[in-house]
Symmetry: C2
Subunit: 635 residues, 2 copies
């Protein structure tokens, strides 16, 4: 099979209403308001060196840690998100703000290329002494992603050159060569960032560095032990931020890892880079490890919303089937990072099972992290609420805020991939792009109101007639899909690994019709997920639904029960969020009645009720109230 | 109505198998093993002053706190529990161990009477500077309870005198008089302890101190503010262990409190002392506050097991109806302390509603804290488990271990109360005692296998015929109770506030028969308790049941569902724990079947199954496994 590569997002025009609205909100509200928050929280002051850094806003925890050590990454992520936004519409004000940051970073950079504002400003003598806890390479990775994005969109090289100098410094310090330390970061990120620079420049030194980093992780003697012993020789016994190596996926060499463990975002960033590298150096063992880890997540550890990591304690994974709903951590960043990983896996094999999860995370666990107004966030994304959680306008650790904005600002990049001899559609929702396929320029336009409807038209307009593949993803959630080309039915049974390949000679005016029926369905969880026993989740197309108190007045939604036989009716609601499809069903509701005590022997009576469900990603945009994804089912 | 007062436990002989077994276990296993643990954890070393105290075993938290500041209380509680045990059977070895501790305490005591081993050993200059966090008076209270118990059982005054000197010192420091500080402890406890000393000595200074403490709590300017400012003047800004005054029920004066808040054990100890004082100084406002707080707990905040405090975060209360099962904190100490409070409330009004809760807590939320072998404990008592929690053989903060042992060792004291003209039976289970009623010596013997059966015989044998009341508690959970005297039926409809009064002239050989039918029943929770919606708890008599994996093999118990129509069959099982009554029902079990994915659209099938339930207090005595109190119900 030809190798498919994603059409990068600047080349993809988002015409569909769903993503166009999200993108506009991010451009006009999220990016500017995030810059204000970076200023307000003195994060922008922290990179103005050599002036003294601002006072510690978040004092060090007794374990020695403060979130301020990763403020550089927030700056990098904002530049990355803002740059993606600029690709859609240039903006002088935003560009000036980025340039000002680059000025500061350039000034801050040490003569030897080192550039970490925490260490430069506060404890320059301690640089590279605590990779385990202090995110030094992680920060470099995020700055680098920002620099790559800014260069790609504006062609301005200055920030990129700053970062290339910094990387040269890093490469001079770490590696297997004599005189170098065999270190790697406790928080993976730099690996996937450097892969981006490698794709941009083709300079093999970058690939070599990532290869070194992936190979070194988890080896014995353990670098974090060596490093800790060195610190303790100087400073005496030191506390751990987190006292096991599973937390940072460094408990064993990555090719030997077969269970997903530890901090969820770290895990996803690592696996993303592993998949990148497996493709690039054609390493079957590394690819196999990625596949085994993928299956482990899918079979035992993912919320139905594509949320990952049930536990706040380690911001990550616990044991198989442990997926509590109300206390779900399911960090926004983890679902965003799952999208990165899924995209890499998809391009290893062009298997729709990866695109299914990419889409699931996109529309649910990731998108839920951003409010409708574009200025409020969820860090944790629970699947049930008693009404207490609300969206934040910022967060002590603002990682999620800019992870979701950079995702939305670059969402076009996930829709289409091309190869020499074909084009593959992964996502639907209304996009237009031009591609070079089989030596011909082809205008592609996919028109739909997806995810609200599965009625999709794809216009394939080659400059001149040309034979190539058009591959359509037939989502794993769909059943009874129909495809036709210019009105002529195509045999859907020829779908392989979730993609239907149509090979023909395409000519101007050709239209592919894809009809994905979208009945609302009930989902049941594996009985191992004891929290969901006797419960049902509702889904329509790629959207997971929830029931919110505001749509189901009369008390907390947890009183509702859905009969198995109740018909689920989709209803287009133009009055809600500028047009959404809700689900309605006849249900039962526990009658509060007249209780004098907490417990009694008479069961509460049931009222009949109408259950109204809303796409999960939209919850908590209309004030506080109870919410539930997994609804008790009665037969 | 005559004032009823409890017959103290040394006068009550536990003849029934249920409590006799628990008591023997505590005497022979719990008390000795706890002394070993006190030694092993260097708690006994910490009171050996002026020798240097042992090294910090539990380093100070960054907020400045270490659990070691309340090690004195553990010593006090052990002496209290051990003394109660001695009342049943004197033991030279235990007495020698207590005497050795008293030697140490006497040596440690400062010339001015002060006696807190943490401060004396480590920071003598800081005594009385942090009542908010450091449990100084709380420790004094527990030592005092130990001293009172030891004196009552052995007649030895030495420890009591040590504590009386210490109290005189405390009284000289705190109060409303000029020159004294208006302090009180962040952790209530000394109030109820000093009430015991008042009952023992009749010395009004003790009552005055408790009156001051209860009146002062929560007044403005707030003592904890004043104290903190004084500390900060000397040492700079200081962290809070817990940054609100609800935590310690000092957010407003106690008579104005109408919602139960904060740390559950603190709350219960406070309310116990409030009820004591309300009775003693005849204060209707204080009594009213107790009643309002009682109703708040009962209507919105108590687990069906009489567990209290859902949250580990504040070891206490959150909002109304927040009663999560798997994460329930429900500290053993809190249920023990609820028993104390319920006993005081019961004696304010002789209302069976208090005895119902006393009994519920005794047989469920408190007793569950102690293992069958008497040497393992639960600190938290969840109502559902995925199989992870296990009983501990000790705890960083061993408060619960000795709370449950002192309860069991003194359980006889909760059975019977007497007044000048009558006797009231609150609990059943086989006891014998002699009492002076209506000027006559009366031998009383209650014979039953309660809680396994409600067939109860009470032998009333006055030395000579005498007219007096025999009051029988007719439990709130019972229905269809029958009472007869010497075979003559008594009209049960004359039961008032949960007590049936039989007034007659009693003569030797009189036998009262009480028949409490004990069908297994289903309990339903108030719909506000969203965690229990669609679920049912099983109860028989005073015992709440749970289903454990060991009795329901085939996977985690969370797969089980109980049809509403299924008959609940009580079954006496001589093979289990030396004889218990289990419950059996025909049920359904979700079939694990062949799942390839975490989620699917086909519902899992159900198998038929037999559900076997065991009394909750016995769970986790046969290895690890899943457990559930609230079982999903299907109709």
């Amino acid at each position: 099979m030809s190798r498919y590569a994603p059409v990068n997002f600047p080349a993809v025009k988002l015409e569909g209403k769903f993503w166009h609205e999200r993108l506009e909100t991010v451009l006009t509200r999220t990016i500017p308001s995030q810059h204000k928050k970076l200023a307000e929280y003195t994060i922008l002051d922290s990179i103005k060196l050599p002036s003294p850094p601002p006072p510690l806003r978040f004092p060090r925890h007794p374990n020695g840690f403060t979130v301020q050590v990763f403020w550089d990454s927030d700056v990098g992520k904002w530049i990355e998100a803002a740059s993606y936004a600029l690709a859609h519409r240039r903006d002088e004000d935003i560009e000036a703000k980025i340039e000002a940051i680059v000025d500061d970073l350039e000034k801050a950079q040490a003569d030897d290329g080192y550039l970490n504002c925490w260490y430069l400003g506060r404890e320059p003598e301690k640089r590279w002494t605590n990779l385990r806890d202090n995110h030094e390479m992680y920060n470099a990775g995020h700055l680098l992603e920002g620099a790559v994005a800014y260069f790609q969109v504006t062609g301005r090289r200055r920030f990129l050159e700053v970062m290339e100098r910094y990387l040269d410094h890093i490469y001079s310090q770490f590696g297997t060569e004599p005189g170098k330390r065999r270190g790697y970061d406790g928080h993976e990120e730099i690996e996937l960032a450097v892969m981006k620079l490698y794709y941009l420049t083709g300079d093999k030194k970058h690939l070599d560095f990532v290869t070194y980093m992936i190979n070194e992780r988890g080896r014995q003697p353990h670098y974090f032990d060596i490093e800790r012993q060195a610190r303790e020789a100087g400073e005496g016994k030191q506390p751990y931020v987190f006292s096991n190596y599973e937390y940072s996926q460094s408990h064993k060499p990555v090719r030997e890892q077969d269970k997903v463990v530890g901090h969820a975002v770290r895990a996803m960033y690592l696996y993303t880079a592993m998949a990148d590298l497996a493709a690039e150096i054609d390493d079957p063992d590394l690819k196999h490890a990625c596949q085994v880890l993928w299956d482990d997540v899918m079979e035992t550890k993912m919320y139905v919303t594509a949320g990952l990591g049930p536990s706040a304690q380690n911001e990550g994974f616990t044991h198989d089937f442990d997926l509590p709903n109300q206390t779900a951590y399911a960090e926004t960043c983890a679902s965003v990072a799952l999208i990165f990983w899924a995209q890499r896996m998809l391009h290893l094999d062009l298997d729709g099972k990866y695109a299914d999860i990419l889409e699931l995370a996109m529309f649910n666990g990731a998108l839920s992290g951003l409010s409708r107004d574009g200025e409020h966030y969820f860090y944790a994304n629970p699947l049930e609420s008693d009404g207490t959680p609300t969206r934040w306008d910022w967060h002590t650790c603002p990682c999620c805020t800019m992870n979701v904005s950079r995702l939305v600002a670059s969402v076009g990049g996930y829709f289409v991939s091309t190869a020499d001899d074909g084009v593959a559609f992964h996502l639907y929702g209304g996009i237009a792009t031009d591609a070079e396929i089989a030596g011909t320029k082809v205008a592609l336009r996919e028109v739909s109101t997806y995810p609200w409807s599965g009625d999709i038209k794809i216009h394939v307009d080659p400059a001149s007639p040309a034979a190539f593949d058009v591959k359509l993803r037939i989502p794993g959630w769909s059943s009874g899909a129909k495809v036709s080309v210019n009105g002529q039915a195509v045999d859907i049974s020829k779908t392989v690994n979730g993609y239907l390949t149509i090979n023909r000679t395409w000519a101007k005016g050709d239209v592919v019709s894809l009809d994905l029926p979208m009945p609302a369905v009930r989902l049941y969880a594996h009985p191992g997920v004891i929290m969901d026993a006797g419960r049902v989740a509702l889904k329509r197309g790629p959207l997971v639904y929830c029931i919110e108190e505001v749509d189901n007045p009369g008390g907390r939604v947890q009183r509702l029960k859905l009969p198995r036989s109740a018909e689920l009716q989709a209803e287009t609601r133009a009055d809600l969020f500028d047009g959404v499809v809700t689900l309605k069903a006849k249900a039962l509701a526990i009658k509060e009645g007249d209780w004098k005590t907490l417990y009694r022997t008479t069961p509460p009576a049931d009222d009949t009720a109408t259950l109204t469900a809303l796409p999960y990603y939209l919850w908590a945009n209309r004030g506080q109230g109870s919410m539930m994804v997994w609804v008790p089912e009665v037969q």
